[in-house]
Symmetry: C2
Subunit: 338 residues, 2 copies
Amino acid sequence: MKPTIVKSLIVVATLAVLSSSLARAEDPLGSWNDGPARQAILEFVKATTTEGSPQFVTPETRVATFDQDGTLWVEHPKYTQVMYCLDRVGVLVKEKPELKDREPFKTVLSGNRAALAELSMKDQQEIFVAALTGMSVDKFNAEVKKWLASARDSRWKRPYTELTYQPMQEILRYLRANGFKTYIVTGGGQDFVRVFAEQTYGVPPEQVVGSVGATKYGYDKNGKPMLTKEPKLLLNDNLGGKPEGIHLMIGRRPFAAFGNSTGDRQMLEYTKAGDGARLAMLVLHDDVEREYAYGPAQGLPNTKVGTFTQALYDEAKKNGWIVISMKNDWKKIFAFQP
Amino acid sequence: MKPTIVKSLIVVATLAVLSSSLARAEDPLGSWNDGPARQAILEFVKATTTEGSPQFVTPETRVATFDQDGTLWVEHPKYTQVMYCLDRVGVLVKEKPELKDREPFKTVLSGNRAALAELSMKDQQEIFVAALTGMSVDKFNAEVKKWLASARDSRWKRPYTELTYQPMQEILRYLRANGFKTYIVTGGGQDFVRVFAEQTYGVPPEQVVGSVGATKYGYDKNGKPMLTKEPKLLLNDNLGGKPEGIHLMIGRRPFAAFGNSTGDRQMLEYTKAGDGARLAMLVLHDDVEREYAYGPAQGLPNTKVGTFTQALYDEAKKNGWIVISMKNDWKKIFAFQP
């Protein structure tokens, strides 16, 4: 080949590579199949961010809220924070050996899954209180960080923080690129989620709203100020607690809200009750192959973890809330998948 | 004069005007006299924002917290929110005439200042609960907004929102211009302060931390979602409650904190207990001519509103917290003054 032809070919090849990476860069929702869910997101962003649009929203009021468990990351077979609490029991009995023979700690240590599943709400609460309170905020943060670095999910054998949904990460980034502040509004513990939310989702601690307990200001033995986590619940950030938590922590009604279960119903309802363009979306776990399938909406198996009832499904359809089918709307579930 | 000389003079005059306005534009703390307080602010910002500085702070962790009453605006002779509550009693008795002859409402309506000053803490709380709870968040916001538009301070005959300290407004803007997020951390009501904080201080609702009550999610008679303000205190954002509120709402330790009374002590202590450069400042009201004079620190008159004890003053001096003298450090108190 003549050198000029070689040069031209190189130029063409370079351009092809460039234009294909540009095309990828241009599709902020690359893991979404084309369909009503993807379209709804694009239309919402266009309507709220185009100057002159009748539904234009000023940048400082652009708020989007996301449930975490089952919406941003995997919640089955158990909530990650529950796994943490169960694992903590092993550490706790080393610090306080007298707990070893006391229920419900004894059952947790036995590893008997059937017995574990039968623990009463009161027993579960006792475990949560022991694992999540009675220590300084700094110690708690360090413990959670350490645990997250070593704990692995039983199915994918990966750190829990890798089990986030790639299509939802794309929405987070896409909304932020369009001037939205993205908040997590979780029934899980606010302090727990804050430990990893910034690195995992790009959501800073001050934008994590969760179930939250009181802290008590005091001093350590060297007289250094410290905050101790108290067993006193200030907010149960679930059901009606979600709009209450949004008011407490944000003080503005969201323009977009994302959930996956009946615990998110009021947050979506509150969001849609605002003026102008409002987006409400629910992730339906209907992909038993690539993740899990549970409802009981649409005949999916029933579950106690992340229940999505048929009533919620019907309400969504009636009110223009968008149901996202993991199976049909998502090309890809996790970033680590090919 | 020759035209060229005229031209030259115009050029010189123009340059003089330009350079003087540039000098003004270049001094972000124009209302501060040169002195240790002004220097401390400038040095803190330099140390924390200069890349390569050993005390450099990454932009996302730059948090500064400000008490409101007595730190950002006037708190004497009474806290503005107390004035609101007292004024609300007149509206309340129109809605519920049976309150008119009941204490403590009867005393408030009498206008008898001596009797008012003698009201017990329990009586005061009853007034606050009646004025601040039992209505929707939307109604409360509308009422406060309406009141702020018409209420006038007794001394300057101006809206309360004009009684903010110009030098503190300059710190707010200067810190924001240097990448800090500025938060209000007030013993006053979070919802009350949120109504005007954005317009008055450039602090958005999500950056107002205050004493805060629970809300209850429900529906109005048309079935529209609403949040009702409940008489249940979640956080008393005063004393140790300030670091607790900072953890609840922000989840990061501030690098700079500003207060003016013993209620701010723990916030400053908590701030200074962090690593690196930390700035703690206290406004001392020692200017009876231009504002008010109260302590009882440094022999200033005693007060129940915004108490600044000698013990706090001594602690500040001992620990490198900067005491701002309104009289000596501030060229100007209010923006409306010449």
